[in-house]
């Protein structure tokens, strides 16, 4: 189309103004004031991968110790710290934050918005996460890491058997990071409900966004019980309450109930966003719309509900009433149904698609195979007699690594290969990607498949060594070899990322010819994401040829951070929300809250001090800024 030079210049000026308004400050000090969803999302992802490497090194050390019987490489105390930190790191500091990071980065792009609803809360959540991780690892490197396992069963985690500060660090930092997850959950739900593009009704929402919505609601109801549990643990340890002390009327199984009421949904909190990634990748690389969109959405929601009814299957060995156990066996088998529906929907989509075998799709195929294997052992241990037989053995270790690595880490790596061009503007190497996938698939199975057999032969988990002559030597050695192959795979991934960041091929806006809105803007996107804002008329906005001219949204102001809020159900324009710009308030609030939490570990008198400091930080945070103080209808001169 032939536009006059004036029109073109006006359009360029608009983009310049938006860039000035939305860009984040530079420099080290400016870094602490970022609030943009892509900036914070990237931080979550990068930090989570650092913790992934740390947790991976811990796992490798444990495997080296177990490579031969009665090895003296690692002493029992260090070994206990290693498996506790490995579990805590991977569950709390890697898996949940990395999924939140991708959700924060992608959801506003997928729903065609300029930012999330509460940008400063995002930043606050990140600082809380970072501080919790740094404090816990600080304790680790000082030799004070928690060592009662990642689920911290009492009485082992109580003061009698853990007199030092180790479990105090665990209880407070786990509570702290839950705050981070809860903040992210509220933020994601509100953004998805209120800031979808015009025309994006719920039935047109990308499956990844659906998955994030279900994950966020699960966080909302799963994390508070654990917070109460870890507060009780901290109170027992610091001020002498008796929640878990049977001698004074308490009960140890209460801890297991509150922990697993969180702990089982936690598995799905990690796994459900990964399913969303799988759907995105399957659609793009099968080059067709998904088969059974509604069935997939309903399965996600059903999984979210049933996930709350399974927690007791972690506690079959505690001697609960038989009727109760039968109920939880039934519920545990029930969850196989929505999982099966989803698997078949993806298979049907792939069956009919014109498959493009690039790295992201390979990881999805790996996911399908490994996750189904993990699901099969899941159905096995849902049965009480079988579970009692393999309880606390390596069979359980094998099972949950198949489900968690197969179910979440494989899709995650697929997702990294898929969205890396969007986030960085560079492609990852396809050849290294294929090496990455095959070494990971082989390494994973060589590591964890033998553990099924070891578990059936009775090898207990969480014991730092085993005696010679039990027939466990070869399989253990094999598992360690597998761990080395897995390590190689992660190294290939790191090399791939490093090369790509230095000299990778530049990515176009839409290198995969994909269907959803994040590909409708630059790679990486401009700081304001979209201009003009997209209007959605179907489930696959980039693939559908709608009748009539394309429609866009205009009229948001460029001189301040305005986002369009739409009506919850109909997704029609409703109002223009003004977002805050860069701010240091989130950092101050996070630091003030840290004072309160460290008070639990060191000196209870610091708790009210931290509480009041947090109040002061919040009051400053919410205090209206200069431009907000005089409303436009009073000022007269304002627009």
């Amino acid at each position: 189309m032939d536009q006059g030079p004036d029109l073109r210049r006006a359009a360029a000026d608009e983009h310049l103004e938006l860039e000035r308004t939305w860009s984040s400050p530079c420099g080290l000090i400016g870094w602490f004031s970022h609030v943009n969803h892509r900036s914070i999302g990237r931080r979550f992802i990068v930090t989570a991968f650092v913790f992934f490497l740390l947790g991976g090194i811990q796992a490798l050390l444990m495997r080296l110790q177990l490579a031969s019987p009665e090895s003296g490489l690692i002493d029992p105390d260090t070994y206990r710290q290693l498996f506790t930190m490995h579990g805590t790191t991977m569950m709390f500091f890697f898996a949940v934050p990395v999924m939140e990071g991708f959700a924060m980065y992608l959801v506003p792009l997928m729903i065609g918005s300029r930012d999330m609803a509460f940008p400063r809360m995002n930043a606050f959540g990140y600082y809380v996460y970072l501080i919790a991780g740094v404090v816990l690892y600080g304790a680790f490197f000082l030799g004070m890491a928690p060592d009662a396992g990642w689920f911290a069963y009492v009485p082992l985690a109580g003061k009698t058997f853990e007199p030092g500060l180790r479990m105090d660090f665990w209880a407070t930092m786990v509570t702290f990071i839950e705050v981070s997850a809860l903040v992210a959950a509220v933020e994601l739900i509100v953004t998805i409900l209120k800031q979808r593009a015009v025309g994006m009704t719920f039935t047109r929402m990308p499956l990844f966004v659906w998955a994030v919505l279900v994950m966020a609601f699960m966080i909302l109801f799963a994390m508070p019980p654990l917070m109460i549990g870890s507060v009780m643990l901290a109170l027992d340890r610091t001020v002498g309450t008796h929640f878990f002390n049977p001698a004074a009327g308490g009960d140890v199984v209460l801890w297991q109930h509150v922990f697993w009421f969180f702990g089982h949904p936690e598995v799905y909190i990690i796994f459900i966003p990964a399913l969303g990634m799988v759907s995105s990748i399957v659609i793009t690389f099968a080059r067709r719309p998904i088969f059974g969109y509604k069935a997939l959405v309903l399965s996600l929601v059903a999984t979210g509900f049933i996930g709350f009814g399974l927690w007791v299957h972690h506690m079959f060995a505690t001697g609960l009433p038989y009727l109760g156990m039968s109920f939880f066996t039934a519920a545990s088998m029930l969850i196989a149904i929505p999982s099966g529906v989803q698997i078949f929907c993806w298979i049907a989509t792939l069956w009919d698609g014109r498959l493009v075998f690039r790295t992201p799709l390979l990881f999805v195929l790996g996911f399908l195979v490994i996750f189904v294997a993990g699901g099969v052992t899941g159905v096995m241990i849902a049965s009480v007699p079988f579970d009692l037989q393999v309880h606390d053995t390596f069979f359980i270790v094998a099972h949950f690594h198949y489900v968690l690595i197969g179910g979440a880490v494989f899709p995650l790596f697929g997702g990294v290969y898929y969205w890396f061009p969007k986030i960085t503007g560079r492609m990852l190497s396809e050849r290294l990607g294929q090496w990455n996938f095959w070494t990971m698939a082989v390494g994973f199975n060589v590591t964890f498949f033998p553990m099924h057999q070891l578990g059936l032969e009775g090898m207990p988990r969480r014991v730092y060594t085993y005696v010679d002559g039990l027939g466990w030597d070869n399989l253990n050695l094999l598992a360690t070899v597998g761990a080395l192959i897995l390590t190689l795979s992660v190294l290939i991934f790191l090399v791939n990322v490093a090369i790509s960041l230095r000299s990778g091929a530049e990515a176009s806006a839409d290198p995969w010819a994909a269907d959803s809105l994040e590909w409708a803007t630059g790679s990486p996107p401009p700081s304001y994401n979209f201009h003009p804002l997209p209007v959605v008329r179907g489930r696959y906005p980039r693939w559908e040829k709608a009748e009539g001219p394309p429609v866009v949204v205009i009229g948001l102001r460029g001189d301040r951070r305005e986002v369009l809020v739409t009506q919850t159900m109909e997704a029609t324009p409703d109002y223009r929300s003004v977002l805050p710009g860069p701010s240091f308030a989130p950092l101050w609030l996070a630091l003030a809250a840290t004072v309160a939490f460290l008070g639990v570990v060191y000196d209870v008198r610091l708790v009210p001090v931290g509480g009041l400091l947090s109040f002061a930080a919040l009051a400053w945070w919410h205090w209206p800024r200069e431009h907000e103080r005089t409303p436009p209808w009073k000022a007269g001169t304002a627009s």
């Binding site: 189309m1 609803a117 509460f118 809860l182 959950a185 509220v186 933020e187 739900i189 509100v190 953004t191 409900l193 209120k194 800031q195 015009v198 909302l220 508070p224 019980p225 917070m227 109460i228 549990g229 507060v231 009780m232 109170l235 001020v239 002498g240 309450t241 008796h242 929640f243 004074a248 009327g249 308490g250 009960d251 209460l254 109930h257 509150v258 003009p532 209007v535 394309p550 429609v551 866009v552 949204v553 205009i554 009229g555 948001l556 102001r557 369009l564 809020v565 009506q567 919850t568 324009p573 409703d574 109002y575 223009r576 929300s577 509480g611 109040f615 919410h622 409303p631 436009p632 209808w633």
Partner: protein
């Protein structure tokens, strides 16, 4: 732009309240979190009661009823001025807002003072037995919430004093009121559990 239809949103408002505002939704979700927190405490109370041979433990009298019942009425009453304050500013009456906030905060402070009086008189501490642990924890949690109501409302009151709120801009008052009514309402089941359950459910 050529060949493109455009929806112009520049006439849409910048200030809304209620379910149209993202902040209102965020507060509702926060209340869902808080509700789960209190529900977990109540479930823990009944769990500990279930495993205990006697509840309250031997030597501990069931809690007295008169003072806490009066105090519950005080707290419930505080929701009325808060509601009037909220309705008032919706119609642009900033005086009504200030007076309502003031009375509500005063009632909340009375509640806190009476709680201190009540619990300085009980015969057990949190480190005596599990019953003491759960009762003190629930009271502590809820009182901390009432304290945060007071602090939050003082900030809202300061802004109101400076004329920040009016008939169009009153979302902050609404959100504060929502949280206030929640903390008041959640006290009702807590009151029933702490003061009536030990007497009625034996």
């Amino acid at each position: 732009m050529n060949g493109t239809a455009a929806i112009d949103v520049s006439h849409l408002p910048n200030l809304v309240s209620g379910g149209r505002a993202p902040l209102w939704w965020a507060m509702v979700l926060l209340l869902a979190i808080e509700g789960t927190v209190f529900a977990t405490l109540v479930v823990s109370y009944f769990y500990l009661r279930m495993v205990a041979p006697a509840w309250p433990p031997p030597g501990v009298e069931p809690p007295e009823l008169l003072l806490p019942t009066i105090n519950t009425i005080v707290l419930l009453a505080s929701s009325v001025p808060m509601y009037i304050a909220d309705r008032g500013i919706t119609k642009g009456r900033s005086r009504r807002l200030l007076v309502g906030l003031g009375i509500a905060v005063a009632l909340a402070i009375v509640f806190l003072v009476l709680k201190v009086v009540e619990y300085s008189g009980v015969s057990y501490r949190w480190d005596d037995h599990a019953y003491g642990s759960i009762v003190w924890t629930i009271i502590g949690f809820h009182s901390a919430h009432v304290m945060s109501l007071v602090l939050k409302s003082l900030v809202v009151g300061t802004l109101a004093w400076r004329g920040y709120f009016d008939g169009r801009r009153h979302l902050g008052v609404q959100i504060n009121g929502l949280y206030w009514h929640f903390v008041v309402a959640v006290w009702v089941p807590l009151y029933a559990v702490l003061y009536w359950a030990p007497r009625l459910l034996d």
